[in-house]
């Protein structure tokens, strides 16, 4: 009995020591986090929770806050960060496949988005998440982007005319070729701005249309720009996402897959938060658009996507997956039998 206890104790000690050994081997890696509020912001707070999860996968992440995502991307490229988290627009340069997730008008609901993220987070799709030397290690929704207009007749007027929106001034972000392309297709004057300028110009009446997730409505006081005649068009322009990208060789083999599963597990919570900001926009500001206009919007966005695909901005494989999801959820869509499918 004594021998047994002695051997058992040794075995237990060996197990404990081996566990300590493995935990102690956790590698330290840096994660550059973009958040407008830096280390005091909500995305940084989200990454504090991600840091705990990463510790469980054997990596000790050191978080570095950035208030500019362009700077975060530059530092990641320069090797100053082993991993980075920022919006899908920035991630396009590191992985055009996931960077096309925010393609114009491609995903009308959060259910569509969930199906796409679930599909591409599966082990079978792992190769699509890698664009050597980078790997996408997770996608978390930020919220649907909506159009904010200072005159609701912009919606009703164009229902009848079917023409181009020649007189309307639309603000587009200067670092997103997709937005610039859309505006040129619409035939409207281009107002290229930084994100910092966009909402200021809208509130000052210098542009008629701007866009963003519902959270900016309160945060940037867009009610000033909407005035008494404006509104928010209840038709998502794009699904914005937060993407975590790692330098694949720096991380353990299974890290990316585990991380993508973690990000997927955060999907519902992130959508609830986005919807809570949408609910803060009073019902009278929401503009529902007619079936005819919806069809027009779909057509314009589809043309934009195809054009950007041909120019190499959007990844054809992601457009194809999003097309499949749209047609799976509604097989009656005209695009499902169109000759020029995405």
């Amino acid at each position: 009995m004594r021998v047994f206890i002695d051997q058992f104790s040794r075995l237990l000690l060996a197990i404990v020591m081996s566990l300590n050994c493995c935990v102690a081997l956790a590698e330290t890696k840096s994660l550059c986090v973009f958040d407008l509020l830096g280390a005091n912001g909500p995305i940084y707070a989200q990454m504090k929770d991600y840091k705990i999860a990463a510790m469980g996968w054997g990596v000790d992440l050191h978080l570095k806050p950035y208030i500019s995502e362009v700077q975060a991307a530059a530092d990641f490229k320069a090797g100053l960060c082993d991993a980075v988290s920022f919006t899908g627009i920035q991630s396009r340069q590191f992985n055009p496949f996931t960077g096309s997730l925010d393609a114009m008008g491609a995903l009308p609901t959060y259910a569509h988005l969930k199906t796409v993220i679930s599909t591409i987070s599966s082990p079978q799709a792992a190769s699509l998440m890698i664009n050597d030397p980078y790997e996408v290690a997770g996608i978390i929704p930020i919220g649907a982007a909506y159009l904010f207009v200072n005159n609701r007749s912009l919606v009703s007027k164009n229902e009848d005319t079917q023409g181009k929106l020649s007189g309307i001034r639309i603000a587009v972000m200067d670092n997103d070729p997709a937005q610039i392309e859309l505006v040129s297709l619409l035939g409207t004057p281009l107002m290229s701005v930084t994100i910092a300028e966009m909402y200021k110009k809208f509130n000052a009446g210098l542009v008629d249309v701007c866009y963003g997730p519902a959270v900016v409505y309160q945060a940037m006081e867009l009610h000033k720009g909407l005035g008494s005649d404006g509104g928010v068009i209840r038709f998502p322009v794009a699904q914005l996402s937060l993407q975590i990208i790692i330098r694949q060789a720096e991380f353990p083999a299974e890290f990316g897959l585990k991380s993508r599963n973690y990000a997927l597990s955060q999907f519902d919570k992130a959508v609830q938060l986005a919807q809570s900001y949408e609910h803060r926009i009073a019902p009278q500001w929401w503009l529902n658009i007619s079936e005819i206009n919806q069809q027009r919007y779909h057509d314009i966005y589809r043309k934009t996507r195809l054009s950007l695909r041909d120019k190499g901005v959007y990844d054809a494989r992601m457009l194809r997956i999003m097309h499949l999801v749209r047609c799976k959820k509604n097989s009656q869509l005209s695009e499902c039998i169109a000759a020029d499918k995405e």
């Binding site: 935990v23 280390a39 912001g41 909500p42 707070a45 510790m55 570095k64 806050p65 200021k200």
Partner: protein, 343 residues
């Protein structure tokens, strides 16, 4: 005879009614004015008195205990809104301190790679941040009740130092409510436009008179929302000038705002410099005796920031007497003599 008795009865009845009426009127007068007197006393005597003390923990507990009953003063014809602004600020700071303890537990757990403990600490931290945000939001709403329609739109006509003080505290309530709500996953549903209103509301105060705090608040807003920054202004230069304005008057509370901005920007060296400067100026620039409470609060807040940094690096908080020093400071060489010959 009967008529005479009846008259006497009427006479006494009249006196009784008159007496009761007078008693009632007096009681109403006392009740109505007691509410006002009580609020005036707390606003003009008790709060300034507390500001001269230096036991922040006791101030926090006092506010936590009394905050619930402050609005009841409105039932005796008083306007307790300004009091609620400061009581909710202090009770919010109690919850913030608890959240910071959980932040330290989270960092310590990560230090020893205990994932479950770290997760638990984060959950509790978010709960406390939620409580802090709710209390601070209530404080801000009371500012809106005290100055209807004003924060962010127009500036009030301040009639006294007290008025301006409560305005400043109310703005801090609003800013902290937004930040703490965002850090706790938006569970308190604090309107985000408060932050821009606070930035504009800070412009209603004289920056020099209020120890550089109004400019520091504006700098904090401009760093996060550059679209609202006036042309040609560098928020960090404004912030440094604000710190000097505060320090010259022996008021170090502005350093807390500055340290939090630099933490947000990830500039650890600047945060260390601010903490060092805070400690270094303690002797050369003694605190204003009328505001010892605020000076002590600033020290505790900077100590909490220092604790986070120390814990992240070493697993332990700032050593006793070690505020202003850091784990990676260069060692001071110990002075010794050569004793080779006598060995």
């Amino acid at each position: 005879m009967k008529i005479k008795a009846r008259r006497k009865l009427y006479h006494w009845l009249m006196w009784l009614i008159l007496t009761l009426f007078l008693l009632y009127a007096t009681a109403m007068l006392v009740i109505n004015n007691s509410g006002k007197l009580l609020v005036d006393f707390i606003e003009e005597q008790a709060v300034p008195y507390v500001l001269k003390t230096d036991d922040v923990a006791m101030g926090c507990v006092m506010a936590e205990a009394l905050s619930l009953s402050i609005p009841s003063l409105a039932q005796i014809n008083a306007s307790p809104y300004k009091l609620a602004v400061i009581f909710e600020f202090l009770s919010g700071s109690c919850a913030e301190f608890k959240a910071r303890e959980e932040e330290l537990r989270y960092i310590r757990a990560l230090h020893v790679k205990n994932v479950t403990e770290a997760q638990d600490a984060r959950i509790l931290q978010k709960r406390y941040l939620n409580i802090a945000a709710q209390r601070q939001f209530k404080g801000y709403l009371n500012l809106e009740l005290a100055y209807p329609g004003m924060p962010g739109n127009t500036c009030p006509q301040f009639t006294s130092w007290n008025d301006e003080f409560y305005w400043l505290v109310g703005l801090m309530d609003g800013l902290l409510a937004v930040l703490n709500d965002l850090a706790s996953e938006g569970s308190a549903k604090v309107p985000l436009d408060i932050s821009l209103k606070v930035g504009r509301g800070a412009g209603c105060l004289n920056n020099t008179q209020w120890w550089g705090i109004p400019s520091a608040i504006q700098a904090a807003i401009w760093v996060s929302f550059p679209g609202n920054k006036p042309e040609g202004i560098d928020p960090l230069i404004v912030l440094d000038q604000a710190m000097q304005t505060g320090l010259q008057q022996g008021m170090r509370i502005v350093q807390v705002i500055a340290a939090k901005i630099y933490i947000g920007l990830g500039d650890v060296d600047r945060v260390k410099a601010i903490i060092r400067e805070n400690v270094a100026t303690k002797n050369s620039l003694p605190a204003d005796l009328n505001f010892l409470f605020l000076d002590k609060m600033a020290t505790l807040q900077l100590q909490a920031i220092s604790d986070s940094m120390w814990t992240e690096a070493t697993g332990k908080r700032t050593p006793i007497g070690g505020l202003g020093t850091f784990w990676d400071d260069p060692d001071n060489k110990t002075d010794t003599v050569d004793i080779f010959d006598i060995l």
